[in-house]
């Protein structure tokens, strides 16, 4: 089941009014349209972890899609969260750790793609 496009009731009770902005964001990405650094797409600290988030606006709850870039212009979303449940640093750390752990399961010790700046990842 796709978190942003559930066929039935959403597992975390996110309404379609909010989910539509996640779909808009993903379409922006795959269509090669502009995503603004730190507004739509943010490289999370510490940068060495190579974890990013896609961010939605304009409806509650705002949503965060966590993942990483295995290559330029290729983004893997590992999990999604409602912004309102990310209340403490521990929540953020857990969200980042989940990406790292899953990435390790998927990729093993294959070297991570690493860029210097936003434009190295998406253009």
């Amino acid at each position: 089941m796709l978190w942003v496009d559930p066929p039935g009731k959403h597992p975390e009770s996110v309404r379609q009014e909010a989910l539509r902005y996640a779909r808009e964001l993903l379409n922006q990405f795959v269509l090669g349209k502009e995503l603004i650094e730190r507004h739509d797409l943010k490289w999370l600290d510490p940068h060495d972890d190579e974890v990013w988030e896609l961010r939605t606006y304009l409806n509650k709850p705002q949503l965060r899609l966590f993942g990483w870039f295995p290559a330029p212009n290729h983004f893997v979303v590992i999990h999604c969260k409602r912004r309102d449940v990310l209340k403490t640093q521990a929540h953020w750390d857990n969200a980042i750790d989940r990406v790292i752990k899953k990435r390790w399961e998927l990729m093993g010790d294959i070297p991570l793609f690493k860029g210097w700046a936003y434009g190295d990842y998406i253009n």
Partner: protein, 154 residues
Amino acid sequence: MATTSINDSVLDTKPISKRELLDYSADVKAALFRQIWKRFAYLENTFKFSQVHLAKRLAVGKAVISRRLRGENDMRLETLSDLARGLNCRIDVVLTPFEQITVAELKGFPFKSPASVAVADITQSQGVSQEGEAIRWQPIGPQEEPRAVALDAG
């Protein structure tokens, strides 16, 4: 003089799903909000234009502007319009019939319209392949260097 009917046009009378209309409005509002945010960031970085300045121009409190720029709530068109005006911008609107959108405009995507892309991807399963729980979200059609998103539902 020849007469034409709806049957001669590209329109049909099938109802457009609520879901598509919802996604379409998200495309419109998000595009507008993205431009407003970008313009504000530019003015802030270049001219030290602040939320206080914008609040004064629109005769509202700073907290209101702060909330709006954080995009916490769905905004009415009037609100987005006010923000654009406060940033000294005109909103240009182009209503392009789907049939007039060229493939070139879509960077090689053979869709009828940008707004229908989301629907095509999602509801028609075009360009979406499923492998176990992982769902790839990628464009249809030729593109030299496509961007791709893979989503893991785990």
